[in-house]
Subunit: 243 residues, 4 copies
Amino acid sequence: MALPKFIAARTEEVQAKRERRKEARPGELLDAALDLFVEKGFAATRAEEVAARAGVSKGTLFLYFPSKEELFKAVVRENISGRFAEWNDEFQAFDGSTADMVRYCMRVWWDRLGATRASGITKLIIGEARNFPDITAFYQQEVIKPAQDLIRRILQRGVDRGEFRIADMDYALFSITAPMVFLVMMKHSLGACMPQDYPLDPERYLASQVDTLLHGLLVRGDEKNDKNDKNDKNEPGEGRKKK
Amino acid sequence: MALPKFIAARTEEVQAKRERRKEARPGELLDAALDLFVEKGFAATRAEEVAARAGVSKGTLFLYFPSKEELFKAVVRENISGRFAEWNDEFQAFDGSTADMVRYCMRVWWDRLGATRASGITKLIIGEARNFPDITAFYQQEVIKPAQDLIRRILQRGVDRGEFRIADMDYALFSITAPMVFLVMMKHSLGACMPQDYPLDPERYLASQVDTLLHGLLVRGDEKNDKNDKNDKNEPGEGRKKK
Amino acid sequence: MALPKFIAARTEEVQAKRERRKEARPGELLDAALDLFVEKGFAATRAEEVAARAGVSKGTLFLYFPSKEELFKAVVRENISGRFAEWNDEFQAFDGSTADMVRYCMRVWWDRLGATRASGITKLIIGEARNFPDITAFYQQEVIKPAQDLIRRILQRGVDRGEFRIADMDYALFSITAPMVFLVMMKHSLGACMPQDYPLDPERYLASQVDTLLHGLLVRGDEKNDKNDKNDKNEPGEGRKKK
Amino acid sequence: MALPKFIAARTEEVQAKRERRKEARPGELLDAALDLFVEKGFAATRAEEVAARAGVSKGTLFLYFPSKEELFKAVVRENISGRFAEWNDEFQAFDGSTADMVRYCMRVWWDRLGATRASGITKLIIGEARNFPDITAFYQQEVIKPAQDLIRRILQRGVDRGEFRIADMDYALFSITAPMVFLVMMKHSLGACMPQDYPLDPERYLASQVDTLLHGLLVRGDEKNDKNDKNDKNEPGEGRKKK
DNA sequence: AATGAATGAGCTTTCATTCAT
DNA sequence: GATGAATGAAAGCTCATTCAT
């Protein structure tokens, strides 16, 4: 009898929220956390702000994730490492030339990671790796190692099939990751430091880097072979000039 | 009305400190600050730790620099922006081919910045630009703009002398800075994330990037010209294969 | 990544505190703050001490008030400026002679402000106005101006009804506020400097000051009118009809 | 031989300073300290600022005064308590009516203290007495007590000579000091809080307060006597013979 | 006598995490 | 499950005072 109108008024609203509770909560929190971690970095992201952006209270955040660090790990798993299995399968099933496989790899990386918010995590790691050794170790094991293994397998396939000639596998790996790192830096941080808008078109940049790389990697005699392979269905051809 | 909490018989120790008073202090503090800023970033570096590393107390730091932000700016001036004048003069006086000038520029950058601790400041800026707008603005004005102007002048010289053919100056600038940024990331952060030590030889990496770039920039007919210019006295030639 | 430093078995104590949560907190903090601001002044009052006196921790204070300055403003609003509306209404409804209105005003001021802890805020402002311009501006706008306007309206009513003859309104205002200020100084500060207890009876002092003032303000012909309204000098009679 | 020109250049300048050293130093420091204490209060006045204003270094200040508190006491002695002996003699030698003596007292106070910077010390004491018990005790003993004794002697003289009729000596004292305190508050603090410039003429205010007081104090039969002595209300007559 | 570099306790404010409801 | 009030360690900066020169 005391505050019936007030309680009644809140009931519907609360009801509405209950609908998407339990299962939705962690996802909303991870989503908010990704935004904020990418925007501010790990240390500067406040737990309360994550909760607020997810529409829940601070307490609820810690109900789902025992600490800010665990929240971060969950964000990484959700957005990056959790997908390696799928990608591994995808590349396992790939049956074009290895040159196309490399091109496809680059493109998939850009479409599914590089161009998304998730790439900001790389920037975050670069900035804060040394301050959070646990996170660094986690990232190293859950992201960097699998990614390198994946790329390494691709390159090794090229070698095994006589398509690639690779003197130093580590150096080759690095030639593939370097442009990725650079693009991500531009996108998430350096771009903001530039006086004018940088006219960097990520897809063209990546394509040109890949081509440069391939012409160094490819066994010379096979070069024309590569050209012929280019139109396979997985990678419909790079001939575009713009965009 | 604070009371002296210690009567102290550390006379000798204090004596030793007085020796290198006033002139030495700011330098020692800047040195310690550079170390810590590079290691931990701006936000995570505690003023007291800087002071401790310089062998003084918290209060002494603020005797020389009115705030952490001013300390950071002083570090940047000391290690980067304060040197642009000298570099500008150096390039003003350069009279070889512009291709050699670009090679020389890259090499000078690596020797005097990239290979030193100061390059860590770039990593710091990448990680924290968005959280400290004042610092970003300062860095943008004191470092990025002068650096771009310097490089732009070099490229323009190439164009004016008929050596270079440049369609888009901004894009050309970016082709020069990209490898710098990438190297710095590897050195200060990603390297620590790598399972094995990356076998990246910075000087070879830079040289190869420059060559790739030049063969795109150079006016075709002048290409042999460039080859001839290579032996100018300022930068006696890049023909080395290793290291 | 702070760690809980205590596991704490103070359950009962905590229980008791939760009882009067949220609604009670701000009031308790304002109460403690008023005590300490009056006792020590603004600058010398430590936030932690306010919190401790309110029975909460340092952090809790800043949960309710974003800064020490805002805490102070809230204290002023709670104890002084928030009451002007009510007082304005009260005087709007007054329908005795304006002389009685002045006496009533003095008495109300003493009963509701002068005699309470809140009057110590005046002492604080006197001592620290020059060191905290923001606070001074706030106090000037939220307290001094409304108070002067209120008194000015009373005096103007006397003039409009032919009861008072006032040459200089500002000077007249000052004649009313001077004894208030003096009493407050005695109560909160000078009294503590006096060797013996000062035998100052505030109510008698105020009544005598008012009478002196009125005999100067009153239009001579009305003087006997006024005389009729008042019964004794300690208790000057409250001819008001309403409220 | 090392820096002869530099040393020579400084010599003259230093020489000039030596001229007024030793004796002048404490006076300059007291002068600067009075300014700053009055402007900012005791706690908020920084020792270094006092030294700077006196043209010496921080260390020198503590060479002459062992602590900020002692500096303050010295300021009080220099500007207030050190003068009581002289004033006592002056009043000892006075041989006009006691009414004139009271008027003279008020005027002398205003001319030599109230109207000078030194009156700001009263404001300072009001604001900070409770925070600095040592200072309060000192002020109480060195200023308030002598001042009260002086006034008390004057009033007692009036009683002894049959000029005054005083029921309660403490209350009478207070009637004399109240206007002094009020004027000082207006001058040093409240004035700054007032929206418009207050039209308070200190000398008229004091004269009128004294007259009001005297007509209450004076034995009725002597009243006409007193009337004869005074000429106009702005300048209430200086019946004193000496000095 | 004079200097000023050095000190460190002390103050306001922030924020991850806890826990009674 | 969800909440949000409460905590307290930690960080930047100030300033009276000391003391070797």
